[in-house]
Symmetry: C5
Subunit: 98 residues, 5 copies
């Protein structure tokens, strides 16, 4: 799972039918210290947990994005599956949700 921050959202009226009703969020991969990774472009993930802009989230990519309770057989390759409360790296808290 990628550690990412929700940085925005997308609107698309014309889309695959099975995508209807999903919130499409723009996410940016970050370090465990919540710093954006300069060489990773933002991408779009479907939200399955009610994530909001600015929150740190875990994004799963690939076929597993179709294995949440709400995305079965949906043509998605990235899904937000968790909102991060805190991260600990090398014994230090690197991130804690405000």
């Amino acid at each position: 799972m990628i550690i990412a921050r929700v940085v925005g959202s997308a609107v698309a009226t014309v889309k695959a039918g099975k995508l209807s009703g999903f919130k499409l969020l723009i996410v940016q991969e970050v370090t465990a210290n919540n710093k954006p990774l300069a060489d990773r472009a933002p991408f779009v993930a479907v939200d399955t947990v009610g994530a909001g802009e600015g929150e740190l989230v875990f994004v799963i990519t690939g076929s597993s994005a179709r294995y949440t309770d709400v995305t079965e057989n949906v043509p998605v390759d990235a899904a937000i599956v968790a909102i991060v409360d805190s991260l600990e790296v090398d014994g230090e808290t690197s991130f804690r949700k405000a």
Copy 2:
């Protein structure tokens, strides 16, 4: 899902039988501001939503490309599944369809 711009199209007469009838478009990954990502090469995606050249689209890659209503079991690893109306990043509209 990758944010990409449709930059062209491809013609291939000799191809896997199950690819017959699909429009093969050349797409270029872009930023949320519609700037091409220099380090990403254009690639080919099947169109499932009637996208046209110059439009911003969302492309799904991997096995999920086989999960639209029209690509089931088709040997494709990239499919255009949405035409972007607008993108919002950090509270600002970064892209709006003309």
Copy 3:
């Protein structure tokens, strides 16, 4: 699908049984102008369309490589599924088969 050029071939006598009979070609990812991408290493794809050395082809990767008529359940992660006749980018023909 990756735009690639067939640059060679491989011989491997000892291999997974289900790979028997497949032509294993070496392909190099290229731009839509048929220029090799320096940072992409050549890799091996099974041929499903009778592609020949020097031809531009489309290669699908990942699980979809098992979804052509001839590769069902075969342990392959890259398959040539089309021979490119022509590519058009930004309204110009960027490649046409000789």
Copy 4:
């Protein structure tokens, strides 16, 4: 499988239901000499073998992360499936667990 070191852990209360009960560890890809790869960002993997911080592990990514005895159909794209005892490269022991 990626050679990685467990560098931390994550807490996420709001998450996909099927992720409940899994230990979410932060891992960093390393060389066979246990040196972190500077250009790889840490990511999150579910632990399936009782790995602890500081240990070298093997991480599988993609759909195969759903094929351990405990992750069947769980929306995960990275799973720790082994704790490394030792690695040998070019005839030398490059890593041995303390």
Copy 5:
């Protein structure tokens, strides 16, 4: 399929049950001339063909690694499926097994 050289091996006592009995080899991606690709880290693949250290092999990654005769439903994302006899690039033999 990736062209790789077997550069070592791994020992892991604690591992997913379904991995028992598999030989875990460390492989390094190489060019068609058997030169290591500096920007690719060594990784671990299960051996399905009796490959030995120093040999050039083809490695399949992703879900297809579960489609050899011996890895069905095994949590692996990389499998050695062939031992390379020879490679030909641009009409020249770039590699021949000693």
